[in-house]
Amino acid sequence: MPVLPEYDLSGKTAILATSGGKEAPFWGQALVEAGASVFAVARTQALLDAVLKSLPSSSNGAVMDANLPDSAKHVMAQFDQSHDKVDILVNDARSMYAQPLEEISADDWDAVQTRNAKAPFLLSQQVLPRMAKAEFGRVVNMISELAERGMINGSAFAASQAAVLALTRSFAVEWSRFNIRINAIGTGLIDTEGQSLETQQEELLVRYTPLRRKGNPSDIGPLLVYLCSESCDYSTGQPVYIDGGLNAHP
């Protein structure tokens, strides 16, 4: 099966950061399959362990609690012990939260914004100047399409996703000149458990999705790899949605 060598990530070093959810291990797998070596960053030890399990045994990582001062600096200090450059940064900023407005506490609001928006902000602040110095970088922020749409009980989460989309655009305008490309992947529903189509279609939102199924990680992995590759040279500051057609729904 001929696959264009342009998608190859051999020799590239990626930082893959996750704020939550079950999908980050698959992004690690996609990056590794394309040839990259991956340093994992996660909000909790359990999330970190899950990502590391998907990576070659020589891989390492760090826990990052964005509530703590200098958290991103500490992560980069750990990164520097085993790596000498960072080519790719993937922020999976989709720790899910949905509550009716009157039940969202100020603490929960802060937690959602901290893990989903502040953590990618702080990491980008550390990584982008390094990429600029090396005159190469690819950043992909994984967000939900709720960055652009409303959903009942989704306010706090949607605000965090829109924040990361705004960061994507602003960072791109500020940093693309240094051969850095910063884009986002917007996702809809994703199944990581291999649910049957019948089970999936019991959910209203799946029946509402034009392609009438959930996405699976292998639907997203190749797009992530393309956006991380050198051949993705003219796209920057843009979200690419891959959601079974939900965005085109009336």
């Binding site: 998608y7 791109a172 990680p217």
Partner: protein
Amino acid sequence: MGAISMLESLSLEGKTVVVTGGGTGLGRAMVRDMARAGADLVIAGRRTGPIEEAAAEAESLGVKAISVATDVTDSAQVANLMKTCLQQFGKIDVLLNNAGAVSDNVRKPIWDLTDEEWDRIMRVNLTGAFYCSREVSQTMVAQEHGKIINVASGFGLRGGREIYMYCVSKGGMIQLSRVLSFNLARYGITANTIVPGFVPTGATDSMAASLPRGGEFLPNGKLGKSEDFGPLAVYLASAASDYMTGEMFIADGGGLAAGITPTGHAPVVALEA
């Protein structure tokens, strides 16, 4: 890349792709990379010379390729194009609606535009894609799969100085993809739009004259190349994009992300007390 499970879906081996406007510019670059990724190709264009060359180049890369002289504004010629593809390859997996008029786009104040000038660009840039999509639709429904890729422009999302038909027709391409995607999803057919920013090709010289400098106005600091669109088109033509439909893939050097701010605008404002 070694043994790859997730990324093998980026191959186009065994797929048949129809490309309009495939002889020159972006179309030619996309044809070349789709051939490298293993696709058989049917290359359409008004002029025979460039499409014959494109087909010969694709064949030299080890795939089957034919050229079919086609004016996409003539639905009978579009019907012939798809019939020829089916006779030769027995299926149409991907339709890439890339044909478009740039160089002869008329730039005038609206009060000077004639009916004919409006109709001509709308027909080449939008009606042609409608004819092609309509023509392949039932074939793709019967196959229970298919991908339609429309090539629009950043001007399809913003206004351009005295660029009426180009902006409107390219905006129409984005909407054509959305409506196709919504209605054909149930048949396993997807439709997406490539949205290029400014890319100098032989056809765009008239527009280049009105753009400042050589790409310094873009966040990327440089203009795009036709070659930037090859791996992107391969991705959208491949099974790797099966879950994407109705979407835009924008590649414009960051122009739309910046949008309202002129080049170099970098205010510094301290936090208000």
